[in-house]
Amino acid sequence: MTRKRRRMMVEAAAAVTVTAVLPEDLMIEILARVRVSNPLQLRCVCKRWKSLVVDPQFVKKHLQKSFSDITDLVSKAMEDMNAFQLQLNYAPALAEQQEDEEEGEEGEEEEEEEEEEDPHSLVNELAQLDNMLVVVRSLKGSLETIKVDVQAIKERVKCLQSFLQIYLKTRVSSSSSFSSSPSSSSPSSSSSSSSSNSHTM
């Protein structure tokens, strides 16, 4: 009976640890692995996280990750660009080659049967147009891939930019609060100038 009771108490204690908050070092471990492109929204979770996200240690990790992400994105875009370039180089050659072949065929046919020249060239032309269409379609597909690549880079850079802006702002405000000199008016003036900037935009 007492044993059972003790076991129940132990179980209750275990249940408490289940809902317990994760220790801070563990939080940092997890936050450092969040592949979120902009960690700013995490600042709204609680006060601790607000400062954690702009903590130099975290910022350093985030910047490293961002740079490697952007580098990866850029190299992917470059790869796709190169592939497109190759396609482009190959495409007109294909068209010319076909024209040459066609001319050659036409020439031969002309020698053999002159009457059938017209419908034959039409069929050939149609086939050529079909081929061109295939080429153009694949070029279009490649261009779209590059567009997606560039869009991803743009978004990633935009995220990084905004993150850095906020980070620098927190740096400025914390350093000005330490010095409490007349320069403390600078963040407000800079923010007003930026808001006026946005007005003019």
Binding site: E11, A14, C46
Partner: protein, 166 residues
């Protein structure tokens, strides 16, 4: 003289074998709900906290290690993950609570692979999720005043674009 030397060698060999068999002895882990789980020493190798304890105390072959913060359920889940060589699919099958608890235990026992695996899994879970989801997930109490939160959300407004559904 030569015979005695051989005899002595044989004795030493036997001793060495005994030492070796000692090393394969099991470790008893006692969980918070009073369950004793016997595991191989090789299993414990990854649990650096226990390993350090074993190195510090010159142990005989019976080692009992209490884990007052680990339930038998979580410990068996960890054993599954270890024997499954940390398969991502196994991790995906864990509930949020299990994942969190295993992560905490991995941190406590200093199990590097398991810690990385579970911390990454949690990071994947919370990324691009709403602030409310993250708070709920970690049992974090929102200590902002409503005004502060509105202000902060306004500053980071664009950051909330593309937040996934909870």
């Amino acid at each position: 003289m030569g015979e005695r030397g051989e005899e002595w060698e044989a004795v030493m060999l036997r001793k060495a074998e005994e030492e070796e068999s000692k090393a394969v002895k099991k470790v008893k882990l006692v969980t918070s709900d009073g369950v004793t789980m016997e595991v191989e020493i090789s299993t414990v190798k990854e649990m650096e906290t226990i390993q350090a304890f074993m190195n510090a105390t010159d142990t005989d072959n019976s080692i009992i290690f209490p884990l007052p913060k680990v339930s038998s359920h979580i410990l068996s889940r960890i054993m599954e993950l270890m024997s499954g060589e940390y398969d991502q699919e196994l991790v995906k099958r864990l509930s949020h609570e299990e994942l969190k608890e295993i992560c905490m235990v991995a941190n406590y026992l200093n199990m590097k692979t398991l810690l990385h695996l579970t911390a990454s899994a949690i990071a994947n879970l919370i990324q691009n999720k709403s602030v409310e989801f993250v708070r709920h997930f970690f049992n974090i109490i929102n200590d902002f005043t409503p005004e502060e939160e509105v202000q902060l959300r306004k500053t980071h407004e664009w950051a909330f674009e593309g937040v996934d559904e909870d």
